[in-house]
């Protein structure tokens, strides 16, 4: 069963490979403006991790305020400066923290950091391609993202603060600097950063789709692709169709802000004077925003689903249960994700009939999601499960996805949404189902593919400690939020002590904040493990997890071009684990049926 010795002779190859390439590329070409998809993937990963710590830190700041609303925070003055006034956090800065936490986490970490990293890294490697269809566009995609990051990061340090109108930036609040300071320069920079971000996403997306359609190696038909690739493929399509709509919304908002148009503004009296804008509709912006915004949550979660499917199959040593149903449900989710956006708007005054339609469509999306969960559980059933850290995160992902997904059935019901809209119930729901779950998918991916990225293993023990602390604190943070949400506790409240209805939840909020701090602290274990293992981790073998997919047939550290010799040929689907009659409990995709006559199923005899 154990096959650690397989790799020894190939290691030598790899040393050659690396050596060859040292000569023809200088430092900048190799590590900075690299066209190699693997380097670009790592660049996305590093940026993603950086942003995750920034976003996490912001959340700790506002959790301090929420957990201890009466406390004085003079000790934060060295970091926040003028935003601490007489020991109190500035209420507008609190809103800015919430806004930037959301923007950073949704777009910069879980979109760019997750799908940017793994789409880039895995698409060519798992398809058997030398690189992306256009390496140059790929590089451009990262550097435009980098530029966008710089703009967004600088906006954190503006004197008037970063954007503060919520990550959904609903106008008129986000359009009028008179309404809130953050809608001044901070909002302008937000819009510029997002416009750049969208350009980066489109460049990346076109590339992913083209690569998947055109650059599959010999024998790699669409139905022999690993589920990761299916997930990235559909994610890229969603992004390509949805992001331009956000772009148009951002553009119209820029016009309203700077050129006196009235797309979203109408009948407004603010700061002592009536504005001349008439005929605009703030609801129009919400339609445009959520037309992206809802597919966006699937853009975040689908790559995680793909990664988790792959890791669960590999470590259960079983084929993924219902491969075609898994693809079908991904397609179902993708299609439906475009027709459910208005469930974010049940109580905006939208026509109630529209509410009924969107409730119907929203609840349908529970069906493919449920199928996925059942199939993951069925894959575990009678497996021979290896608890690698990646596998722990995959199990954690499924658990969180169930917990968070089920409450979606409540929120998708327009009648129930009346009470729960914009309360902590919503916060708990989406943090579990797309926040924490997507993070778990990302960790799952990092722990699983780290050996292929850096040629070394992450420390498994530290990984387990990291997993358990994170998993427990995620539940400790978000479970109690359901309780206060059911009672109607509203989101984005700087302080709630003025309301008799809400001021009974002080203990619960303190508890949540403590759990959040614990969870954030645990991430430094990961950071240490990550950096330490890049340089000092145990050396990886070629295929440390005994996996079937193509990336594990490359050398330990694949060079530019991925495979030293000719591209591999694919003969079978990627999930031939524990096939009865086979010598090993895995048969890589590159093994022809003629070599596995003892294990071939009746319908596979023809391919021998």
């Amino acid at each position: 069963m154990s096959s650690t010795d397989i790799s020894i002779n190939k290691d030598v190859h790899h040393a050659h490979e690396e050596h060859d390439h040292h000569h023809d590329q200088n430092f900048f070409e190799k590590y900075v403006f690299s066209l190699d998809h693997k380097v670009i993937a790592k660049q996305f990963l590093f940026m993603g991790i950086f942003w995750a710590f920034v976003g996490g830190f912001l959340s700790i700041l506002f959790r301090l305020q929420l957990g201890w609303p009466e406390a004085t925070f003079t000790f934060l003055e060295p970091i926040l400066g003028g935003w601490i006034e007489n020991g109190k956090l500035n209420p507008e800065f609190y809103l800015a923290l919430v806004t930037m936490h959301g923007t950073i986490m949704v777009f910069f970490v879980l979109t760019a950091g997750l799908s940017g990293t793994f789409s880039n890294f895995l698409i060519p490697l798992q398809l058997g391609a030398r690189d992306m269809a256009s390496g140059f566009m790929n590089m451009l995609s990262f550097w435009i993202f980098f530029l966008s990051s710089v703009v967004m990061f600088i906006s954190l340090f503006l004197e008037t603060g970063p954007a503060a109108g919520g990550w959904t930036v609903y106008p008129p609040l986000s359009a009028l600097p008179e309404a809130i300071q953050g809608s001044g320069d901070g909002m302008s920079m937000w819009l510029v950063a997002m416009a750049l971000f969208i350009v980066s996403q489109l460049l990346g997306g076109v590339n992913y789709i083209t690569t998947i359609i055109n650059l599959r190696t010999r024998g790699m038909s669409m139905t022999k692709m690993p589920l990761t690739i299916w997930a990235f493929f559909l994610t890229a399509i969603l992004g390509l169709l949805a992001f331009p709509v956000l772009f148009s919304a951002a553009l119209l908002l820029i016009f309203d802000r700077s050129f006196g148009t009235s797309f979203f503004l109408s009948d407004i009296f603010i700061a002592g004077q009536a504005l001349s804008n008439t005929g605009g509709s703030p609801i129009l912006f919400q339609h445009l925003f959520w037309f992206l915004g809802h597919p966006e949550v699937y853009i975040v979660i689908m790559p995680a689903m793909g990664l988790v499917s792959e890791v669960i199959a590999t470590n259960s040593r079983k084929p993924i249960f219902g491969y075609r149903a898994m693809i079908g449900s991904l397609i179902g989710i993708s299609v439906l994700s475009f027709v459910v956006w208005a469930h974010h708007m049940f109580v905006t005054g939208m026509n109630p009939f529209l509410g009924s339609v969107f409730m119907f469509l929203t609840l349908i999306i529970a069906v493919p999601s449920a199928v996925k969960v059942f199939n993951w559980i069925a894959t575990l059933w009678r497996g021979n499960i290896r608890f690698t850290t990646a596998m722990m995160y995959a199990i954690g992902f499924v658990s969180l996805f169930i917990s968070g997904g089920l409450t979606g059935i409540i929120l998708g019901n327009s009648a129930l949404d009346i009470q729960l809209h914009d309360t902590y119930f919503v916060v708990a729901h989406f943090h579990l189902v797309m926040g924490a779950a997507a993070f778990f998918g990302m960790f799952c991916g990092v722990y699983h593919w780290f050996p292929k990225m850096f040629g070394r293993m992450l420390d498994e023990k530290l990984g387990f400690v990291h997993f358990w602390l994170t998993f427990i604190s995620v539940y400790l943070v978000f479970m109690p939020m359901h309780y206060i949400g059911i009672a109607g506790f509203p989101r984005r409240y700087y302080n709630w002590t003025g309301f008799e209805t809400f001021n009974i939840f002080t203990d619960m909020n303190t508890f949540i904040s403590i759990a959040a701090i614990l969870g954030f602290t645990a991430q430094f274990i990961f950071l240490f493990n990550f950096i330490y293992s890049i340089f000092k981790g145990r050396r990886a073998t070629e295929n440390p997890w005994h996996s079937n997919t193509l990336e594990w047939t490359t050398p330990v550290l694949p060079g530019h071009g991925n495979w030293p010799g000719p591209l591999p040929t694919v003969y079978r689907w990627p999930y031939d684990y524990s096939k009865p009659g086979a010598a090993e409990d895995y048969i890589p995709q590159t093994v022809p049926y003629s070599q596995t006559q003892s294990s071939n199923l009746p319908n596979e005899r023809d391919f021998e």
Partner: protein, 356 residues
Amino acid sequence: MITIAIGLSIVLLLVILFLLFRIGTLSSIFRGSSERAAGTTKISNRVNGTLLLLFLILGGAAFAWSFADAWDEMNLPLGSVHGEWTDNLFWTTMIIIGIVFIITQVLLFLYSYKYQHQDDKRAYYYPHNNKLEIIWTMIPAVVMAVLVFGGWKTWTNITSAAPEDAVVVEVMGKQFNWMVRYPGADGKLGVAKHTLIDATNEMGVDFSDPNAMDDFMPREIHVPKGKPVLLKIRSRDVIHSVFMPHFRLKMDAVPGMPTKFWFVPTKTTNEMANETGNPDFKYELACTEICGRGHFAMRFIVVVDEPEDYEAWLADQTPFVEQNPQVLAKLSTKASKELVAEAHSEEKAEVVKTEL
């Protein structure tokens, strides 16, 4: 001094942790567990498997306990007719998803524990089963259909047109408080325009409209128990949202697009005070759409009266124009000015015409 001591002890702690980590790594090399394929070592597998099972049991118990403990707090006292419908629907849905939650989580952790790696075992090659897959696609589909139907019926009832005789209250959101207006004896609200807003006339009511003459603007919302109440909601600056948690009521206040929500209160403030045992009980109105610095402080009081008390309160109110006669005075001067201006422009127009 103290900060240095704290800093030093943190550094020391980190060093100790790092040493422990190194010792662990080295000992695993000596034990030979690093030679095995990842995830197949016995101890680590057993520890993680057991922890998963423990997480299921202890986590489940903690969840059940905390849920029961928070039960009273999360069930806000209910004061409206439609709230009963949505609360019932909510807890019915909760039971359904609760059952699914328990089944799936138990299977997930149990299978993970039960089927952990053993050297002499092999996984069961089981790629698909169409029958099974059709069954577990159909079941959620049917359950969803039932829930959609229940939700749709409730939603249509709640959002149906308000009865003709509903008490009308206009609620306007602004940064950062609420203002309300009652139509007065004629039952009609006067027209309002954002261009007419000034320091006195904060709701921008057009007092040249005769319907506005008896409109009054109280500091609390009063509504009669058992009668339908129609809230006409608008905003004058950014989006706000009217949220009355006890009535299970929420509707955004959108500038440029008036919205509405109607409900029937079922318990007076006094009855609620008796029921909750809190003599100071007050129905509250909160804002739930981020609207700026004071978003968290847009509190307004709603009072539910017995119908006769409500009538008495109504009779007590004085129209806005009586309280602030200057708005009418201003109106007359403004009107005459406008007339003059109009006359001027007419003259000009004639001049232009003749010139042409």
